[in-house]
């Protein structure tokens, strides 16, 4: 039981993520600093520890374009961010993550920003918008001046640059015509000069130009395969330098780019710069007195980067060592190499960030952070040691499943014995003996380990989880979480420790893919390995692929999934199994033809037998069409019902059926007079949510439709007038709970629908949707909820005996475990004897949020997008995973731990009392005998 106690300390696990990194800067102002500042595509600005990869602090902004981080500039202790397409300018203190200041910028779409320095000190930030440029003090954000840009209707201003000479240059281009350069005085914003240079080949400054050296603008032109040079300080024409004259060649059809570095904003950029000549070809060049000199050629080179420490600047080049995915990162100025292994299926590296630092002997050391296509950050130290990796793909989990872990090797051995075919009596006996011997051996080893560990202090006992020692625990509380992320990377995470046990990157995942994960075979069928199938559908083409893998080890299965030439509409996992115990997956294509996977003879035969009882439904929200189909024996289908919801009035938002692994223990509810109100437990019931297209607050409405998925019969229809989405819905047992925004009262409301068959069961042995003459009784009640919610899910337990709770993800990051008892349409307004007998809480319109209902205490989960619940081996316990930006795993006990002894259960006391009583009885019996004998003697 102490195990459970220790468990409790670790069962609440949160992992914080930041998302795909867009900008990253190392903290340079202190030599021994351990911070890297990242701004991500998830609108998160965070500071990571470079030693461990943990998050020091993190600021999560609004989602969507409003919180989009446009630029990140770092100087000293200050990090300046432009947020929301130039809406806000913020300065953060990078040590503690506090906000220095924030100002609202004038409207206008953001183009570029840079620091402006003078006499070696950086004082201002220049922000370039579409039609204006403004200068702000770095210390307090106040605006020093703002100037409208000349001819901003025609000229597209794209870059701003300052070389520390008291001038701010804005660079604009009229595509395919000329470049306009406007120089402003830092002091008062007066236009010092305005240059216009012909550049008919140029369309985008930021993509192809960079400022190098003492204010020399260098642009690359793919058409003429040459570099153009323009001195910003003097009015002149652009000088063309053909790349061939430098002995360089550009890969055909490649747009060359220029990479330069300006380590100190108060000083001009360095005169060394890179030109990318091909997808894996870089050239280091130097600008020397107006002449470009080729320094070194890097081919193959995947990524380049500059880094500066003190007065020293280094250039880093990342090159693949060979095709197996070994990459090295070497540098020209030091010419040292750092070789490290990269995950061969982790995708190509995308970005390279280098942290240079001065060693004690004044030489330059460096560390490298590499970002790859699968959104992984890898931090590498010399000599090629990977210090940490962050799987930022996990900030965008799309779908997940929890899979039971396999039995231990010994258990499996025993199971295997019964799985195999019998071959003679003697060999069977021998096999049994050998497996018993193995069990004995394992048991002794286990005892020895226990004994060995017991001598060590608890903190030293390491419980490293690896794939090899994974095994199911006594109560099946530890499971494998299989997570599918939007980037196409799959993860296998141990639910107990949160360790990533395997990862698998699927490349060529389209950006708007739809995923559906199904467990075809669980671990229960040893020696057959468990099997998961991921359906990946490209929403543009409609074509789908299947990825079949082992969820425990992450390896791709040797079973070849069928090729799917037709666009796939839906899939359907049947409870039928083939001879290898894999559940049959049906795929419905756009011709409404069905294909089975696996499609062995056995399966097809079973399908033929069962065809008449297999139904499926499809919901097309763009056409507002719900349709039901029946399978024919030749695997074609036949439409049997159709419901059209006019799309002009309302659109279908979501459809939810019941979870297939849900068990309902009690078939009814006991009333106060001890009669039974039987639940309407239709496994084929669907809850369809519609929202009105008219969003006017007087006319908008939310509709809930309960439809039988087999017959298409509308069981119930509820309309919430003056209500608006987003609607969150949970459909389970005989109830549907949904939440919406009431525009009339301006508040969030919960509504619950419960369906009952009545006081008598129509048919207690079988449920068939085709034979249901009586409509169910529907009860409904609504409540006010004091907060908006992000997601809603219900707990799930093994047998469904435990009472249910609703898990509500709040935007504040808390997860609320709300007893379903509070959402009960039978809550009476007037308390009667019977309702008291039933333990019904009297109705009150307000639903409370009690802080003790938060299952994650202070560990807030940012931007919860989904909650996944899974039953464990203990009936009282439900495993919960909340995912969003963070991942949080815990257990909930909706009816307390009724099947587990308490932690403080006093074994010693109770057993000693028992023994004492036993001995007392023995002794007193003996004494009584003696006394009787004595009395008899008298």
């Amino acid at each position: 039981m102490t195990d459970l106690f220790v468990d409790r300390l670790v069962i609440c696990r949160r992992q914080q993520y930041v998302g795909k990194v867009r900008f990253a800067h190392f903290d340079m102002h202190v030599q021994s600093s351990k911070k890297v500042l990242v701004a991500t595509e998830k609108n998160v600005f965070a500071s990571l520890n470079t030693r461990t990869g943990e998050v020091y602090w993190r600021h999560v902004d609004k989602t969507g374009p409003e919180g989009n981080i446009d630029a990140l500039l770092m100087h000293g202790q200050d990090a300046v961010l432009v947020v929301g397409n130039g809406r806000l300018l913020r300065s953060w203190d990078i040590n503690i993550g506090g906000l220095n200041w924030e100002i609202v910028l004038d409207s206008g779409s953001f183009q570029s920003a840079c620091f402006v320095g003078q006499q070696d000190s950086v004082k201002y930030v220049a922000v370039l918008k579409k039609s204006a440029v403004s200068l702000h003090y770095l210390s307090n954000g106040h605006q020093k001046w703002v100037e409208n840009l000349p001819e901003s209707e025609t000229v597209q201003y794209q870059a701003v640059y300052s070389g520390g000479n008291g001038e701010v240059y804005t660079l604009g281009v009229v595509p395919h015509s000329h470049i306009t350069i406007v120089a402003y005085s830092v002091e008062d914003g007066e236009i010092i000069k305005q240059i216009s240079v012909d550049a008919p080949w140029l369309s985008n400054i930021q993509a192809s130009c960079a400022v190098v050296g003492q204010g020399m603008l260098i642009c690359a032109d793919p058409a003429t395969v040459s570099l153009y040079m323009l001195d910003l300080n003097v009015q002149s024409q652009m000088t063309q330098i053909p790349l061939q004259s430098l002995g360089l060649e550009v890969s055909p059809g490649f747009q060359p780019t220029v990479v330069s570095t300006q380590p100190n904003p108060a000083r001009p950029p360095h005169s060394e710069f890179f030109v990318q000549l091909g997808p894996d070809h870089y050239q280091l060049l130097q600008l020397n007195n107006g002449q470009i000199v080729a320094l070194r050629d890097f081919k193959p080179a995947m990524l380049v980067s500059f880094a500066t420490t003190g007065e020293k600047t280094v250039a880093a080049v990342m090159a693949p060592k060979n095709k197996t995915g070994l990459y090295k990162s070497g540098r020209r100025l030091l010419d040292t190499t750092l070789i490290f292994n990269m995950d061969p299926n982790g995708g190509k590296p995308e970005k390279l960030y280098v942290q240079a630092f001065l060693k004690k002997d004044d030489s330059v050391g460096y560390r490298v952070m590499v970002q790859t296509e699968d959104h992984t950050l890898t931090f590498i130290q010399q000599p090629g040691r990977v210090m940490w990796t962050r799987e930022e793909a996990l900030s965008d989990v799309v779908t997940m499943e929890m899979v039971d872990l396999p039995l231990t090797g010994t258990q499996a051995e025993l199971e295997g014995e019964f799985g195999k075919k019998a071959d003679g009596l003697l060999s069977m006996v021998l096999k049994r003996l050998s497996s018993q011997l193995i069990l004995l051996q394992a048991w002794i080893a286990h005892l020895w380990k226990l004994f060995y560990d017991a001598r060590k202090p608890r903190s030293q006992v390491k419980n490293d989880v690896t794939i090899e020692n994974l095994s199911r625990d006594e109560f099946n509380l530890q499971k494998m979480m299989v997570m599918v992320t939007a980037s196409g990377k799959l993860f296998g995470i141990d639910s107990k420790t949160g360790t990533i046990l395997w990862r698998h990157y699927l490349d060529n995942i389209p950006s708007n893919a739809a995923f559906k994960l199904m467990v075809q075979r669980t671990t229960a069928h040893f020696p057959h390995p468990p099997q998961c199938t991921l359906l990946i559908k490209d929403k543009d083409t409609g074509l789908a692929t299947l990825h079949v893998f082992n969820p425990i080890f992450g390896r791709k299965s040797h079973i070849t999934p069928p090729a799917l030439p037709q666009p796939i509409l839906q899939s359907l996992l049947l409870p039928l199994m083939d001879q290898d115990y894999a559940k049959v997956l049906l795929l419905v294509d756009d011709q409404y033809k069905v294909s089975a996977f696996p499609s062995t003879k056995n399966v097809l035969q079973q399908l033929q037998e069962m065809a008449s009882s297999i139904f499926f439904y499809l919901v097309d929200s763009s056409q507002g069409r719900l349709s039901g189909y029946r399978l024919r024996t030749d695997l074609s289908t036949e439409m049997i019902w159709e419901v059209i919801i006019p799309t002009e009035v309302q659109r279908i938002v979501s459809v939810k059926g019941k979870r297939p692994n849900e068990h309902v223990h009690s078939q009814g509810r006991v009333m106060g007079d001890r009669s039974v109100l039987y639940k309407y437990l239709n496994p084929n019931l669907l809850a369809v949510v519609t929202e009105s297209t008219d969003l006017h607050q007087e006319r908008s409405f939310v509709g809930i439709l309960l439809i039988d998925g087999v017959t298409g019969r509308i069981i119930h229809e509820a309309v919430q007038r003056k209500a608006r989405g987003p609607v969150h819905l949970v459909h389970s047992e005989n109830w549907v709970v949904y939440e919406y925004w009431s525009t009339k009262s301006r508040r969030n409301e919960f509504s619950v629908l419960e369906l009952y068959e009545g006081m008598e069961l129509y048919n207690s042995t079988v449920f068939s949707s085709l034979d249901r003459p009586h409509p169910p009784q529907v009860l409904q009640q609504s409540y006010i909820f004091p907060s908006s919610i992000s997601t809603l899910e219900a707990t799930l337990t093994e047998k469904g005996i435990t009472s249910r709770h609703l898990l509500v993800g709040l935007p504040s990051g808390a997860i609320l475990s709300l007893p379903k008892m509070f959402l009960d349409p039978r809550r009476p307004e007037i308390v009667s004897e019977q309702s008291r007998e039933e333990n019904l809480i009297p109705y009150s319109p307000e639903m409370p949020i009690r802080t003790e209902w938060f299952i994650n205490y202070n560990q807030t989960v940012s931007r919860v997008r989904g909650i996944y619940t899974a039953p464990s081996g203990l009936e009282s316990t439900c495993l919960v995973v909340a995912y969003g930006l963070d991942i949080y795993q815990t257990r909930v006990y909706p009816s307390k731990q009724f099947d587990v002894l308490k932690d403080d259960y006093d074994y010693m006391l109770i057993s000693s009392v028992l023994f004492a009583l036993f001995f007392a009885t023995m002794i007193s019996k003996r004494l009584a005998e003696v006394k009787l004998l004595n009395r008899a003697w008298r």
């Binding site: 739809a514 839906q570 359907l572 419905v588 069962m610 439904y617 001890r674 998925g709 079988v766 068939s768």
Partner: protein
């Protein structure tokens, strides 16, 4: 009732009483086990019985012939015993109420157990009633009384809700109905 050894004890007591005082110990092989009794009856032993007094009670033979009515009455008492308890039981039932707690449960158990016990030992009761002329009638009354008592106990159980007479009592045994159709699908991906 006089003890069977009383006679000898009376004769012995004079010796024994003095003997105890005089001697440290004495061994009497013939009458050893009556020694203690002789001690106890020592006080009486000094009494000299009058002439004609017999310590043995003379059996009263007149009762068998003369008071048959008394036997009948006794038997009727036995037979009507259970019936007589019913009003008392009713009162207890009323007082204990219908809540499920230790005392009402104990009451109900008692009430239920006593008639059952009585019914089980019916033959013994019949033996008691053997001497009566209205044996069968009395037996019947006794039976009815006990049955009424147990009916009362059952009624009490019922009103306390201890009997599985409602459909809710069998709810836990209803198996979930078997599913006839397999259904699946969803939004077009």
């Amino acid at each position: 009732m006089a003890s069977p050894g009383g006679q000898g004890g009376g004769a012995l007591s004079t010796r024994g009483g003095c003997g105890v005082r005089r001697m440290k110990w004495a061994l009497e092989l013939s009458l050893g086990n009556t020694r203690s009794r002789s001690d106890r009856q020592g006080g009486q032993g000094d009494v000299v019985y009058p002439i004609g007094y017999s310590e043995k009670p003379v059996p009263d033979t007149s009762i068998q012939e003369t008071d048959k009515n008394l036997v009948e009455k006794r038997c009727w008492d036995v037979a009507l015993g259970p019936l007589k308890q019913i009003p008392m039981n009713l009162f207890i039932m009323y007082m204990s109420g219908n809540t499920i707690s230790i005392f009402p449960i104990m009451m109900v158990c008692m009430m239920a157990w006593r008639p059952i016990q009585a019914l089980m030992s019916m033959s013994a009761t019949f033996k008691l009633l053997e001497s009566s002329s209205q044996q069968w009638l009395q037996g019947l009354v006794y039976l009815v009384g006990n049955l009424l008592g147990s009916a009362l106990a059952i009624y009490k159980c019922q009103s306390m809700g201890l009997l599985p007479t409602h459909s809710s009592d069998w709810l836990a045994f209803i198996e979930p109905p078997q599913r006839m159709e397999i259904m699946g699908g969803g939004m077009v991906l």
